[in-house]
């Protein structure tokens, strides 16, 4: 039996939304097969990674906490990718947001006041946006590829953490550990559900997604991003400057990555530690694509990826699956999604062999 691709007259809306779902489902099936083949309990792995976090109510708080940064960063990336701006240095912008927030927390250490947290958040947002401004500047002024610069800056920012927590920001009472002191009460993000670890960042993430959805669908800003990304020539006719759009896309995605960073450092971490680079910035790339570059989709995709993170930890303790397996499942999801994209523009047609067709 042979198949042929046939171009659709217009992109299939059904496939646009069906392929992410199919990608997750296929990942579960193929993942189970592959992990069984290499000697793990494949079905168990899939169950623990994809289902246990959902069925075990105790894990829901972890899901919220893990999904929040993924959603916030993913929303920013989805806006940038819509405009065809390939910011893949969100991890670095997340780190810079976290560091800027840490700076404020350390400066105000021992102080109290309601203004400390908002100031930290502001610093974090500015930190992320400023770091994203470098690739934006290089791209608009000198046409330097933003993929490479934003990524290289990520590697540099990791070294900046190590430097700061080893020397100037080192906890004086830390017994030599390379980390900052624990933030004062006023610099910590409050939990919103007593007795859980669910902090203020979780509702903020959902809010960011909803606001971004509204802006992207209902405002000139969103229209501009979509037009520039989809049809640069038409955008130029319409008077949208490409450079200005690149700036906006980079700054918004950097600011949101920075916001995620400051919320993480003030929430789950409460101090800057060497383990702060958590790969959220890279995983959010998958979130953005799986969410179809649509902020509402990103909220759902953020939860899906959070499930795999939490489930990965579960599988590690229950069936001894190495933590790295999570990354493989996540990458497989993206592979299947990208493979399925062809079905949006093309349909599969069975090719009827010539003789058979004539006989009939």
């Amino acid at each position: 039996m042979q198949f042929r691709l046939e171009k659709r007259r217009e992109p299939s809306q059904f496939m646009l939304y069906a392929t992410p779902v199919a990608a997750v489902a296929l990942t579960m099936v193929v993942g189970a097969i592959i992990f069984s083949l290499i000697g793990y309990n494949g079905v168990g792995a899939v169950r623990e990674i994809f289902l246990t976090p959902l069925t075990n109510a105790y894990k829901w708080q972890d899901l919220g906490v893990k999904a929040a940064p993924l959603i916030i960063i993913g929303v920013g990336l989805s806006i940038a990718y819509r405009a065809n701006v390939w910011n893949i240095g969100a991890e670095g912008q997340y780190i810079m947001g976290g560091l800027a927030g840490t700076g404020v927390a350390l400066l105000t250490w021992g102080m109290t006041g309601w203004w400390i947290l908002p100031l930290m958040v502001l610093a974090g947002v500015l930190g992320g946006a400023t770091y994203a401004a470098i690739p934006a500047l290089l791209k608009t002024r000198l046409n330097v590829n933003e993929i490479l610069t934003s990524l290289m800056l990520t590697y540099a920012s990791v070294q900046l953490i190590y430097y700061l927590i080893r020397a100037p920001w080192k906890d004086p009472m830390g017994l030599g550990f390379p980390q900052t002191r624990l933030f004062s009460e006023a610099a910590r993000l409050p939990t919103i559900i007593p007795g859980t670890i669910v902090h203020l960042g979780v509702p903020i993430a959902v809010l960011v997604g909803l606001v971004a959805w509204f802006i992207m669908t209902k405002s000139v800003f969103g229209y501009r991003m979509r037009v520039v990304g989809a049809a640069p020539h038409a955008a130029r006719y319409g008077g949208f400057s490409e450079h200005k759009t690149i700036w906006l896309a980079m700054l918004v995605s950097g600011a949101l990555a920075g916001l995620a960073g400051v919320l993480e450092v003030a929430g789950p971490f409460q101090r800057m530690v060497p383990g702060f680079p958590t790969n959220y910035g890279f995983t959010a790339i998958i979130v953005a694509f799986l969410g179809r570059l649509n902020p509402l989709g990103v909220i759902i995709a953020g939860v899906v990826l959070a499930i795999t993170f939490v489930g990965g930890e579960v599988a590690q303790t229950t069936i001894g699956l190495p933590n790295a397996a999570t990354g493989i499942f996540q990458a497989m999801m993206l592979f299947f999604l990208l493979a399925g994209d062809i079905l949006i523009k093309y349909r599969l047609r069975r090719v009827v062999p010539q003789q058979q067709a004539e006989a009939a």
Binding site: W86, I88, I134, L138, L142, N143, V144, N145, I147, L148, T149, L151, M152, L153, Y155, A156, Q159, L160, Y162, Y163, R166, A167, F282, I285, I286, F289, P322, N323, A324, A325, T326, G327, I328, Q330, A331, M332, L334, F335, L338, A339, D341, I342
Partner: protein
């Protein structure tokens, strides 16, 4: 003198994997495909090379396994971007994420277990004298990288097959209309790039640190991609660029070892230097007028044959 020679030897070691990976990517990009999965393919090559070296102790088998593993990984990329015309940027990123996870999983039981480094290629007599060591004291991949610079230059510019490959990268529609298989050429190029990235990855445990560590390529694959831009898609410039970067990375090692003046600057800054240097180099390149005109015209664009 001793120190200078030692530095040269270290620079050569640090430059070699970047050069090999970048040479592969250069061929891929010349065919019009942008594979950003070099880092992932390198990691897959690194773990394959490590595992084979650990179990067999045969470094040539290890390099071959690295090549095969990198090529297998590149086929995932090729199938998605060529047969299914998926977005090349996104697929390359996915390949890197996959390679990071795959290598970490495959290597999870091998951490902190040493392998033996690859021995020099030439008879030891030649390498006894210090100058002899600098010229002849290296293992196979170092010379392989040099030879490949010439081979790839010759292939691209002096052979018919190279001409076809460049034609496919510059104008896929024309190449297709005069009967060349665009996808076939690109598949071969992508597989070659994967094999080179795999060999480059295997160089890490065989040449640099004789053990397995997660993410041990530490962004070198991305630097290789940047170097192709730096070299404006020309093999000999790639050679110069890779050695420049090897030098920058070696400075970090000497600073960490307490190398006098170098240690005044925090070691973290030295560690960040290769990445900052990449950005600086990309900026410098962009200032040249011919920079972007050298890029293959079809780079990164999907091709769908219209039957």
């Amino acid at each position: 003198m001793e120190l200078t020679l030692a530095i040269i030897v270290t620079v050569v070691g640090a430059s070699t994997p970047i050069l090999i990976a970048a040479l592969g990517e250069l061929v891929v990009e010349r065919s019009g495909v942008l594979n950003l999965g070099v880092e992932g393919m390198m990691l897959i090559g690194a773990i394959a090379g490590f595992v084979v070296q650990f179990h067999t102790g045969n470094p040539y088998l290890a390099l071959l396994s690295g090549a095969a593993a990198g090529m297998a990984a590149s086929l995932i990329f090729g199938f998605l971007t060529l047969s299914l015309s998926a977005n090349q940027t996104a697929t390359g990123l996915a390949l890197t994420i996959f390679g990071t996870g795959f290598s970490a999983l495959a290597g999870s039981s091998y951490s902190a277990r040493p392998v033996t480094l690859m021995q020099p290629l030439l008879p030891s007599g030649l390498a006894d004298h210090p100058v002899g060591k600098v010229l002849f004291g290296y293992s196979f991949p170092v010379y392989f990288a040099f030879v490949m610079v010439v081979v790839i230059w010759y292939f691209l510019h002096k052979t018919r097959a190279g001409l076809i490959l460049r034609a496919v990268g510059e104008n896929d529609q024309s190449a297709h209309s005069i009967g060349y298989s665009v996808l076939g050429v690109r598949y071969l190029a992508v597989m070659f790039g994967g094999a080179m990235a795999g060999i480059a990855g295997a160089c890490f445990p065989l040449l640099l640190t004789p053990q397995w560590a997660e993410r041990m390529t530490a962004g070198r694959g991305w630097i290789a991609v940047a170097l192709v831009v730096f070299a404006s898609w020309k093999p000999f410039r790639l050679l110069a660029g890779a050695y420049l970067f090897g030098l920058v990375m070696t400075m970090e090692l000497y600073a960490k070892a307490g190398g006098g003046v170098l240690s005044v600057i925090p070691s973290e800054l030295w560690a960040a230097l290769p990445y900052i240097a990449t950005v600086v180099v990309l900026v410098l390149i962009s200032l040249r007028r011919d920079a972007s005109t050298n890029a293959p015209a079809c780079l990164g664009k999907p091709f769908l044959p219209t039957n």
